[in-house]
Symmetry: C2
Subunit: 482 residues, 2 copies
């Protein structure tokens, strides 16, 4: 059984692809191909009246001829035929339909009429509809993949704890492709297109219950029902962080949004207020969105704004301190007691203040011992780690040892201390940085981005404290993090 009427889009046992094609140039071919190559394990039924077999699968002239139940139908046929096949889907007992096809509301009054008709059918049969005019869903875990770009031109990301909802299909797909290269794991991706039925609100309420999702990211140009959206965010943010990239915020952007998705972008100030009131974190761009998402997915929230900067490179320490202050964080002086402890551990040329500059002459143990001192000091809430893996005294094994120590200490602390890293460098540096990230410490190319990620951890921590659910959240984090 499905957990909700939206679950069918992400966990269908059987899928019909209406408009499946034998022509590799057509979306109806690529969807089937992408689904197969993403490892979808359920039943797949290509629907095409002029084919008996596509990509090795038996094809049927219509859903009605399929001998077994169909959970989800993916529709890629010209708009005018969509209502007719939607009725057939309804008769067949299909639970959800994704209409990839364009030619609806976005093209004018006639398309809008067609869309209304489609919605009416969907309601009559008690089905749910995603789209029309969308690229649908991608779920790494179940292999459901209704995108239609060819695999030689795009990659798909692995499974991970971040959900991504995009109003824009093209941008959504570009992000999937980038996430594959950047090695960001996604739990679920959904492109909601014209939002004739399912919208961001439905997905927020579904994803808050989704075990595989720890952070929800959104790209939106406009929401139709602001009140409903705000109520949803209010329900979700005490349990999971929501990060929104709201485009169309300037007059020029809003004009573009209106001709793109027909969204009335509305006053951006209202969105800003809504995000603030609901503890939703607003991202300034695609990289910012995922920089913060990775931090919130893998690290606990910070209980305050006091940052310790632990660096091998002095210059990076200076820039990190600047970046923290620019973000409204604090880089406090440490107590004499803590400075003394650090001094005992570190090289004489090291600087045991904050930033703690262990210098390019440092060895693994300087990094590992000092992070423990900082974590146990009670004087800081979050750590920015700048390891400079390239220097000769730091070994390749430092990542394992450092993270092991951080985990051990965090298990003993009442409130775990979050850590984010910055690794400016090339291939060798990123081999180790990628390893650290796989082990749960988000790593960024620059200290500015690491500082922004630290800010997100502080910001969300403040929201949870305001709602008095900080401890509850941290307990859940501790249980679910592995």
């Amino acid at each position: 059984m499905f957990k909700s009427d939206v679950d069918v889009f992400f966990n269908p046992k059987s899928i019909a692809i209406i408009g499946a094609s034998r022509d590799p140039k057509k979306p109806g071919y690529q969807i089937l191909y992408n689904m197969l190559s993403s490892g979808y394990k359920g039943k797949l039924y290509p629907i095409n009246p002029r084919a008996t077999e596509i990509l090795g699968l038996k094809a049927y002239p219509s859903v009605k001829q399929v001998p077994e139940d169909i959970d989800l139908a993916v529709i890629v046929i010209p708009a005018q035929y969509v209502p007719k096949v939607a009725i057939e889907c309804g008769d067949k007992g299909v639970k959800g339909i994704i209409v990839i096809s364009g030619g609806f509301k976005e093209v004018g009054p006639e398309g809008a009429k067609l869309e209304e008709e489609l919605v009416k059918i969907v309601k009559e049969y008690n089905m749910r509809l995603m789209g029309p005019n969308c690229v649908g869903v991608y779920v790494p875990k179940t292999g459901v993949n209704t995108t239609f770009l060819t695999r030689d031109r795009m990659g798909f990301p692995r499974h991970g704890p971040i959900a991504f909802i995009s109003q824009s299909g093209a941008f959504g797909v570009a992000v999937l492709d980038w996430a594959a290269m950047r090695d960001i794991g996604l739990s679920k991706f959904a492109s909601i297109g014209n939002k004739a039925d399912i919208d961001e609100t439905d997905l927020l309420e579904y994803l808050v219950e989704d075990e595989d999702t720890r952070v929800i990211t959104l790209y939106i140009e406009g929401v139709s029902n602001g009140r409903k959206f705000i109520n949803s965010l209010r329900k979700v943010t005490p349990r999971k962080p929501v990060i929104a990239l709201k485009a169309g915020k300037t007059e020029a952007g809003a004009r573009a949004a209106s001709s793109h998705t027909g969204s009335l972008a509305g006053s951006d100030v209202l969105y800003d207020v809504a995000f603030k009131q609901t503890g939703t974190i607003r991202a300034l761009g695609m990289e910012d969105l995922f920089d913060m998402a990775i931090a919130l997915a893998f690290q606990p929230p910070a209980k305050g704004r006091k940052v310790a900067i632990l660096t091998v490179g002095g210059g990076s320490g200076v820039m990190a301190a600047d970046a923290c202050i620019d973000q409204g964080l604090e880089v406090p002086r440490l107590s004499e007691r803590t400075i003394e402890k650090l001094r005992k551990i570190l090289l004489p040329i090291a600087s045991p203040y904050n930033p703690i500059d262990i210098t390019g002459s440092a060895r693994d143990e300087h990094m590992i011992e000092s992070v423990e001192v900082l974590m146990r000091s009670g004087e800081i809430d979050v750590i920015i780690w700048i390891p400079y893996f390239m220097v000769p005294g730091i070994s390749e094994g430092v990542v394992d040892e450092f993270i092991k120590r951080v985990r051990e200490v965090n298990e003993e602390l009442e409130t775990p201390i979050p850590i984010v890293g910055a690794a400016t460098g090339g291939t060798y540096t990123w081999k180790l940085a990628a390893k650290a990230e796989r082990m749960g410490i988000p790593m960024y190319l620059s200290v500015e981005r690491a500082a922004k990620a630290a800010w997100a951890l502080c910001k969300y921590g403040e929201w949870l404290k305001k709602l008095r659910v900080f401890t509850e959240y941290v307990e859940r984090y501790r249980k679910n993090k592995d």
Copy 2:
């Protein structure tokens, strides 16, 4: 002969490495190794009293025993012995010395005394000194490379038009490593350490005359002589763009800078004023520094702030419009005449306004024809190009064709129109984006970064216009760009 007394550091005919070592763990070994593997073609003399041969090169007990002239000496021996060998270098007629060794001003009063002594010797012999406490220089073209990190842990960038001066050695080296991975070409890199003699001012005045350098980038924590620095910038910026990353701008950052390089960071407001008065562009971080540098190195300055956004993805168009407005740029509506011309070229579903959304159904010719219309319209000053290489109608050959057309049109225009690109995506997208960048169109992962690059082109154009040297600069750009 050398073009100036600083030129010897970048184009030496012969180099002595004083403190060259047979032990691969020592900097004195790695410098020799890096120099050899960077393809330095001049004479190399390892100096080590306890060795006869290092890495296949004959070693000498001191520079005095070297039978030929020595242009440059790189010194990597303990601080206390440096003055003595500096005298030997002076006697030998060495023109420049790079003191890699630390243990001078940065360690306290005794080191400061040693540094004063060293400077006195250098002046007496009419030599120039880089450092002490630095990593020296890297010149891809001549293979001069005095950095001492091992090649298995770092990469070195190729030759290109961007010079980079860094007060911080570790950060400088990390940037080299990153630039190699990101495929950014550098003309010259210099790390100036304690700046006992050569400082950013000397290098600015050298680099403005350097044929291989089109853009100068700076990482600084503080300058000792503000007046001299400002005068230098005034001389350089009418001829070449200067982009500065000034760290230590906050109180926490300044505190860190003071314990890092002993820089008195001074009031950040003063730096801001100095940069504004001299047309120096201030970067907000490492990525920002090089994002803008690439744009200014490969594209002409913009003659105004009017941006056209040419996109295949609607959502990216919306975000790009927002980002431009956020940067203080304009995204003007196009004239009816231009809109009509675009409409004739584009698909009916395309949006011929600004952003010009040619849609995911677009083919190569839509992109190529419309960029020409925009460039010839006389209504815009800079173009942000968002190609979405992944969509089926866009061919792999589009990069060549598009750039060919842009070049042809720009040759005919009185003022060339600069173009920057944004390519959100993965491996395939970046294969083509990297190609476009190699051909001269700077490409960024996000529209926000492309908008910032466009801003830099506008900002520098405004500065040149203010000084009434815009036309002169553009003529020089046209002559030198290939």
